[in-house]
Amino acid sequence: MSKFLASLVAATMLVPAAARAEGTIEVLHHWVSQSEVDALNVIRKDLETKGFQWKDSAVGGMSGANAQQALRSRLTSGDPPGAMQFLGWEGPQWAEQGVVRDLNDLAKEGGWREALPPQLLTFVTSGDAFIAAPINMHRQNWVWANKKIFDDAGIAPPKTWEELIAAGKKLKEKGVTPVAMGDEPWQIGIIFDALLSDLNGPEFYKKAAIDLDPAALSSPEMTKVFDTLREVRGLVDDNFVGRDWAVATGMVINGEAAMQFMGDWAKGEFLAKGLKPNTDFYCFATPAKVPTFQYVIDSFGMFTVKDETVQKAQVALAETIMDPKVQKGFNLIKGSIPARTDVSVDDFDDCAKLGFNERAEAIEAGSMLGAMTHGFAAKPEFASVFGDVAAQFFVGNMSSEDAVKMLVEGIDNAR
């Protein structure tokens, strides 16, 4: 009996002991929806084959702001998680505080800098240090359109914003809502970001949204952006207040609305209904002479910790994330494309393939830009001013000139 008990105890102790052989890493992130969790499981499984356990610390809500707060309190109490999901400037800003582990040795060994688009390095490096491993890349400036509505009205995917607005007016006359969206500032910001570079070129975008050049901010080009934004407002129905982005996507799917401006996370809604790109729905970039690729990336940074097993696990996690196979598996589920540019496009859907191609072109043409609304251009204190002005302009009846004035004053006040 006692022998049986002893072996039972031994058996129960063996399982976790074997699993903990190499160590556990706690990962703080804000991914809680089903597809996000499924995508993370790709990373988790690969990490387990290396003998490390993934300890999940998901703090959802407020687009990651809640997770940021959790991180702040963890860092203040001297108990940082092993790894953390970074958005926008969070990584570089934490690195400036000296709490993020430098992964430069791994990056050199793995050729990470060469494998990533150069424009992206701003958000994963800090000085000479390599501070975060990027897993995916979303594109913010997509248009998702109901193909049947376009075909019935004899409209092809537009090549310029004039064409797009003309098409919208035609659809409105036919009683279809041309543009589905909600009034949340970030949904309006997606259109504003696209107009900045589509109307005036990527150079203007860099001057206005990244360098915050006063001349560019108060230029006639900026007025033109607001003028066009006003025309887009005319294409949106009056019930857009409080509408969730996924509800707006649903309107395009059901044929209540013709198109939506949204990042490629909207694609999942179409695919989940069994719809196929270019047969049931269109995906195309916001129209411009030089098509831009406004990127949003998710990366994982590692914090400086004393525990050596956690340090080992951090190395393993970083290598897992940068593994082309893992990037492919992850992004097939998440709907984005790999942050690495050397992953094969096979198995991805047509929209993602288009994304791959246009990314390669954009890197060449210099039109690969960080998406301001999601924190990848100006720092949050400035990006939020753009967001405020664009949103107030969009929902009210401010003139374009007043909006430009408000923008210039707001940016100066935040400097």
């Binding site: 407020m62 702001a65 940021q68 707060q69 702040r72 400037w89 800003q93 505080q97 009034d183 949340e184 500032p185 129905d237 009056d238 019930n239 857009f240 207040v241 409080g242 720092k379 949050p380 204190e381 939020s384 405020d388 949103a391 107030q392 302009f393 969009f394 929902v395 009210g396 408000m406 004053e409 707001g410 006040n413 935040a414």
Partner: protein, 297 residues
């Protein structure tokens, strides 16, 4: 014997202090220390994380140069004033009507009080749909045949703050009613009888006798409702999320987004200090007069 007695009596003297000490300490640390810390931060140039330099009144200047803050302050006054006025008025009216010995009073009382049991998040979400022109009231009335009827305040930046008032009043006037009803039941019937014998009309009795006698209930209602008005962060978040644009921003939502989402910790702290000052400007004279009255009494 004598020593033991003095020990126990000394213990008895100290016991209340010992019992209160931990909670006092917690309050000192979690409330007053953090108020002090927020005050310190408001005089620094803190952005992403706290830094401890001295920037003078820079953050306050920046705060008052932000149009969103002006909207937030104006909204707080509009919202609090209307919310207090309407909740108290409607609550009092309902209490008086319920007090007329009507049938099924208990049932009606529960109906009117029930919204208070909901969280502001539920209220906000429900009213967001009710007031959406494409889903709620406007659509129903239009479909009934009155096609020119519009009720689209929630989409209009100028009117949106009043939708927050509507939702808030809906939730809280039943609560005001319950307190007034308790106050009405506490009024001695003989006073009213005496007035009736003197030939006073019913409206006159209410205006001149009953409502003045409800003063303590009125004070409780106003204190409790002002506190609900100032903390109504969640209602705005669920109903309009500060929109359209930033039309329904309140100081509390401004403070949250400045500190945690916009890298403006210094401005956020400055706005928190401004809120504290505003509340103090109301509370301190009130406390002063209350305490003086008690000392005199």
């Amino acid at each position: 014997m004598n020593a033991a007695k003095s020990f126990s009596s000394r213990l008895a003297g100290w016991l209340p202090r010992i019992v209160v000490a931990p909670s006092l300490l917690i309050v000192i640390v979690t409330v007053y220390l953090f108020i002090l810390w927020t005050g310190v931060i408001s005089f620094t140039s803190s952005k992403f994380v706290p830094v401890y330099d001295f920037a003078g009144f820079e953050q306050f200047v920046r705060l008052w140069a932000t149009p969103r803050w002006h909207t937030a302050v104006a909204n707080l006054f509009i919202f609090s004033a209307l919310f207090l006025l309407l909740s108290t008025g409607i609550g009092l009216l309902m209490a008086i009507l319920l007090d007329q010995n009507i049938r099924a009073e208990g049932f009606l009382r529960a109906v009117y009080l029930y919204p208070m049991a909901l969280s502001f998040i539920v209220t906000g979400t429900a009213w967001k749909w009710i007031m959406n022109p494409g889903l709620g009231i406007q659509k129903v009335v239009n479909e009934l045949g009155w096609t020119s009827f519009t009720f689209d305040w929630i989409t209009d930046p100028k009117m949106a703050i009043y939708t927050v008032v509507i939702a808030g009043v809906w939730q809280s006037s039943g609560f005001a009613m319950a307190i007034f009803l308790a106050g009405l039941r506490g009024i001695d019937n003989s006073v009213i009888k005496a007035a009736q014998i003197e030939g006073a009309s019913l409206p006159l009795i209410y205006r001149q006798i009953i409502i003045p006698m409800l003063r303590p209930a009125m004070l409780s209602v106003i204190v409790l409702l002002s506190y609900i008005a100032i903390k109504s962060f969640d209602l705005v978040l669920a109903l309009t999320n500060g929109g359209p644009g930033s039309a329904t921003e309140l100081p509390s939502t401004f403070m949250f987004s400045a500190t945690f989402r916009r890298n403006q910790m210094g401005v956020g702290a400055a706005s928190a200090i401004m809120m504290l000052m505003t509340v103090a400007a109301i509370i301190i004279p009130y406390l002063y007069s209350e305490l003086r009255e008690r000392n005199n009494g």
